[in-house]
């Protein structure tokens, strides 16, 4: 599938923002106002940038508001509705806490739950597509939620370190290990999915399997088309191995080391850990799209 920069930015940054909202919303005893202001505003901003990036993917962004109408049937619409609901609830929670001094824990938990529901809906946009077995036949929603919480924890941890609070170093280390394990699990499942998880082949695609083995003799056109550029993306797959190494190293190994360092040198090291993690996630998300194979390409002879 075509790895559109707008979609990579949207899924990574919206996920990060929602992860931050989830941790701040959960509270966990951090009622420091400086932390509240910085973490609250940053999480809304990062999530907001992600949302804006998703609008950048649209050919007719002026009609984006219509995406709030079909929540009964469409995961993309549910995602849009949940994202706004989560942010509004979280803003209310922040307002009561930071402006009025009222700590509405329950409202924070609702905001956290809505934030996770948003990430689940984001993942379901991809995981619902039977046409892309690498997304639908793998634990995609689970991976998106774990990565969102990992990023959120690193970000809130870094902010805590910077404002002089105790950073949750051991906690972050544990989450990083869980996240790395989840990514490995997902990648293994995805490697086996290919294009034929439901048994789709060129033979079932053409209905000609009863006669024999099918291969494409002539394409319908000499040039490219929307279908090929969007759903038969092949560019850069040769560099997948290197990118996966970068993703693993920047996304997990470096943050692990830097988070450990934070024990000695202070919480600011987690800020670098966070930036590395975001870079690594971008690389992995690029692969998430670029490596996914669509069954439609079977009609073009790509097995």
């Amino acid at each position: 599938m075509h790895p559109a920069p707008s979609l990579i930015a949207f899924t990574v940054l919206s996920g990060l923002g929602m992860g931050m909202i989830a941790w701040v919303g959960l509270g966990l005893g951090d009622w420091d106002h400086t932390f509240g202001w910085i973490a609250g505003i940053l999480s809304l901003m990062v999530g907001g940038i992600g949302g804006v990036a998703s609008v950048g993917h649209l050919a007719r962004p002026d009609r984006a508001w219509r995406a709030f109408t079909q929540w009964r049937s469409s995961w993309l619409s549910r995602e849009a509705c949940l994202m706004v609901t989560a942010k509004v609830t979280f803003t209310l929670y922040l307002g009561f806490w930071l402006l009025l001094g009222i700590e509405l824990k329950l409202l924070g938990w609702i905001a956290a739950a809505l934030a996770m529901a948003t990430v689940y809906a984001t993942a379901m946009i991809y995981a619902q597509l039977r046409t892309v077995p690498m997304w639908s036949g793998t634990p995609t929603p689970f991976m998106f939620m774990v990565l969102s919480l990992t990023g959120g924890l690193l970000a809130t941890g870094a902010i805590k370190g910077l404002v002089g609070l105790e950073t949750p170093v051991l906690y972050s280390l544990a989450w990083l290990v869980v996240a790395a394990g989840t990514v490995i699990w997902w990648t293994q499942q995805a490697a086996g999915a290919g294009r034929s998880l439901d048994g789709s082949t060129m033979e079932t695609a053409t209905g000609l399997g009863n006669i024999g083995r099918v291969k494409m003799l002539e394409g319908p056109h000499t040039g490219s088309n929307y279908l090929l550029s969007e759903m038969a993306f092949e560019v850069g797959r040769a560099r997948a191995f290197q990118l996966r190494k970068i993703g693993a190293f920047a996304g997990f190994v470096l943050p692990l080391v830097l988070t450990l360092l934070a024990l000695g040198v202070g919480g600011w090291a987690m800020l670098i850990a966070l930036l590395c993690h975001i870079g690594g996630m971008m690389a992995l998300r690029w692969l998430f799209f670029a490596e996914a194979r669509h069954v439609q390409a079977l009609y073009y002879g790509m097995r």
């Binding site: 050919a59 219509r66 079909q70 053409t206 209905g207 291969k215 929307y226």
Partner: protein, 245 residues
């Protein structure tokens, strides 16, 4: 709402005879011609006279070579357009309500005034039947020529989809597949009409009639041998004599 109707009153669709199609692309060309001036936004082309032309088409003709276990390979021309599925995944994923399936005849359409061009319906379609128009920024797909089949301003014999009307070989048939007595349903039951990618559970309305089995076996020809001239008489004697040396 982009939910699918429980059932549709009719199931209008196409039956495509792979035994007859000669791969002339006339249906695709006529489809483009009719639909670029008909319903909705035009089917645009990008760089049409340049080195890398691309464009929006609602019907594309693939050509496959099918190799049986034994014997010669077979060439099959394969037109592909929207199958107007009963369980159309492109409809339910639509976030704006632009994609819908009509209750009265089962045609899957896009309301181009509501489409925001996110492209998710094209991702949800296993058949590659939807293309986002690069100029208009809205999703284009086969309308089953909804602006022809009910059009009382054109002669009655022309009230069929443009691809059906233009096929010079008679490989394309249009009708109501929910009516067991219709010509298209009869063809499907006689010839064993097939669903494409049945494992995707989309329940396509359009059916494909598989190529008929060969009634006479194709002889195993050695083409290289045919290219050699057969020498007779004195030259033939000389040829055989020289071969022995």
């Amino acid at each position: 709402m982009t939910t699918l109707p429980e059932r549709t009153e009719k199931k209008l669709g196409l039956v495509i005879d792979l035994d007859i199609c000669v791969g002339c692309h006339a249906c695709a060309v006529n489809c483009k011609e009719w639909n670029t001036g008909g319903y909705g936004a035009a089917l645009s082309d990008q760089d049409p006279y340049g080195s890398d032309p691309t464009g929006t088409w609602l019907n594309r003709i693939h050509t496959y070579e099918v190799q049986p276990h034994q014997g010669e390979a077979q060439i099959v021309h394969f037109p592909k357009s929207c199958l107007h599925c009963e369980d159309a995944p492109c409809v339910t994923v639509c976030p704006t309500g632009a994609s819908y399936k009509r209750v009265e005849d089962g045609i899957v359409l896009v309301n181009e005034d509501h489409c925001m061009g996110c492209g998710l319906c094209a991702w949800a379609c296993p058949y590659g039947a939807r293309e986002l128009d690069a100029a208009a920024g809205v999703m284009k797909k086969c309308t089953l020529c909804v602006d022809r089949i009910y059009n009382e301003n054109i002669p009655e014999e022309d009230r069929v989809p443009a691809c059906v009307k233009s096929c010079p070989a008679g490989a394309r048939h249009f009708g109501d597949l929910s009516d067991a007595d219709s010509e298209v349903s009869q063809l499907v039951s006689e010839r064993g009409g097939l669903d494409l990618m049945p494992e995707q559970n989309t329940k396509p309305v359009n059916k494909y009639l598989p190529p008929k089995p060969k009634d006479t076996p194709v002889p195993n020809l050695n083409l290289a041998k045919l290219a050699e001239p057969e020498a007779k008489g004195f030259l033939g004697w000389l040829d055989r004599a020289l071969e022995k040396i």
